[in-house]
Amino acid sequence: MITVEHLTKRYGDFTAVGDLSFEIEEGHVYGFLGPNGAGKSTTMNIMTGCLSATEGCVRIGGYDIFEEPNKAKKLIGYLPEQPPLYMNETPVEYLKFVGEAKGLRGRELAGQIEQVISQTKLEDVRNRLISKLSKGYRQRVGIAQALLGNPRVIILDEPTVGLDPIQIIEIRDLIGQLGQEHTVILSSHILSEVQAICEKVLIIAKGKLVAFDAPENLEKLLLSSNEVSFIAEAETDDINRILEGIEGVAGWQIKEMEKGHGRVDVQVESGEITDICRSIFFAFAKEEKALLELTSKKANLEDVFIELTESGIEKKEAEDK
């Protein structure tokens, strides 16, 4: 659906986006994740034709955004970071303008406006001035605008920024619904949000793509460095003795909590994490030492994010060289 090839955007000496390439398939919700200033908005602006690229190309449904902008833009609905609203208009007037500019006329236009208004639940405020609307409603008017013309791709730049928790949940639900009919790309620096609604995540940092996968797979990326931690009802010597007999354990630290209790952090060398947990459990059970707590420390998207955005760039740079 969308192909981005070797996209580069430079402002003077500063490289906002450097050699970014990825492909987006139809019918998923994609998350664009990165710290502030990573180049998310720049990339989105280029993909929607608001900004030119220094190098590289973007193809939307086969149309190059720079060569055939009108055909390409008809396939996209875009909500920029700050919703582009005319404050002295009502949502209906505003949507009418956007619809006409997208080439809708007459009955089709009226029908689509009604449809997007009910989709974004704007019925109550349809004839109120946009300047009088709350931020959540303004955001919805912005999304409604992007939906007009029934585009195949909807690109939303930080759609939940500045909203209160209830509004955030509502907007997320709306995005979830949109994902059933359209390809949705949204950017965010909030991890839980991306984890909750996106099927695939692109992580970019300092203008470079550092990861592109499903959230679950990204978590698995870090499983190799996993740890098991448990609290055993045993003396330190016993714990050391039992752990030595278990295969796949690389090392451990014991913190004595009180008499006869020890909290142990075990570094796993290799193998499935559940196998190690099972071995530890049975080994202690055999010695009739109770385990009061046994948890495997699983990496979440947050760890992946921090790991990738910090070390990923250096790794990528090293690869490039």
């Binding site: 900004l51 833009k73 008809k74 007037e93 080439g103």
Partner: protein, 287 residues
């Protein structure tokens, strides 16, 4: 383009600008008609228009200041860029909307000569010829205002630049009498202009080599021409200033001549500044 035109028009009628513009124009035409046609009993309506043309210095910038600057300020220009319409369509749509706003009071004004004709002999041909020229001259000034509005996101700043630019154009003929008419003076003035052009190019393109290149080529051209035949520069600067004046050409119509070259000149100015506006908007995608 039609969508932008309709949207702009509804926008103007929702705000005070168009009403202020129309009211000012009508008020001054009214005062002019009172003074010339009624009190002094002159049968030439075109004198009224030549009197009113000074008001353009203020009301055209007021009309045009928000046209593109506001889009940038509200960040709605991003919407226009992402819609499947070209920048040219946006600019032409906005420009046509301004022309419509300008045309409405002018339609009312064009009834006046007919009213006066009821009470005496009025030269209707020159009156209406001048009204047409008045419209086209205003259209040319609006295109300049539109371009200036596209340079900034601050409406006040846009008006603040447009007023002196139009004022300078208004007085350029009177000023031309006071500038140096000698060959050396004109040559020096042209060199300064080359320098200014270089600065503008540097500012717009952020390309120093290009700016220096343009400056040195033009500078060398002026110097060589001066060295070969200094007589070319005799009285050149005042001549250029007179030729560039939009208002001076309008007075030809007032004297009863329908000057096609002036019309062509106005249309050229309109085309040139609308082209610059499109480029100025396109440039924002590249900066």
């Amino acid at each position: 383009m039609i969508a932008v035109l309709k949207h702009e028009l509804s926008n103007y009628f929702h705000s005070l600008t168009s009403y202020i513009f129309g009211a000012f124009l009508l008020a001054f035409v009214g005062i002019g008609a009172m003074v010339y046609n009624i009190q002094q009993a002159v049968a030439n309506f075109e004198y009224v228009l030549s009197f009113v043309s000074l008001v353009f210095v203020v009301i055209i910038p007021i009309l045009t200041m928000r046209v593109i600057a506001e889009e940038r300020k509200l960040k709605t220009d991003q919407l226009l860029y992402s819609l499947p319409i070209t920048t040219t369509q946006v600019v032409i749509g906005k420009y046509l909307a301004l022309l419509v706003i300008y045309l409405i009071p002018l339609c009312i004004v064009s009834i006046y000569p007919l009213i006066f004709a009821q009470y005496g002999e009025v030269y209707l041909l020159t009156s209406y010829g001048s009204i047409v020229a008045f419209f086209i001259m205003g259209a040319a000034l609006i295109s300049i205002g539109t371009f200036i509005s596209s340079l900034t996101e601050n409406q006040g700043f846009a008006a603040g630049i447009a007023i002196p630019v139009i004022l300078l154009n208004y007085y350029s003929v009177s000023l031309a009498e006071h500038v140096s008419a000698t060959a050396l003076g004109s040559a020096i003035a042209l060199c300064v202009l080359c320098g200014l052009l270089g600065v503008v190019i540097r500012f717009l393109t952020k390309n120093e080599n290009l700016a220096y290149g343009v400056f040195f080529v033009l500078f060398a051209a002026v110097c060589i021409t001066y060295y070969i035949d200094s007589a070319v520069f005799e009285g050149l600067l005042p001549k250029i200033m007179t030729k560039l004046s939009l208002f001076e050409r309008f007075y030809t119509f007032v004297s009863g001549i329908f000057d096609i070259t002036a019309i062509v000149y106005y249309l050229t100015v309109i085309g040139f500044f609308l082209f610059l506006t499109v480029q100025s908007l396109e440039k924002r995608r590249y900066n």
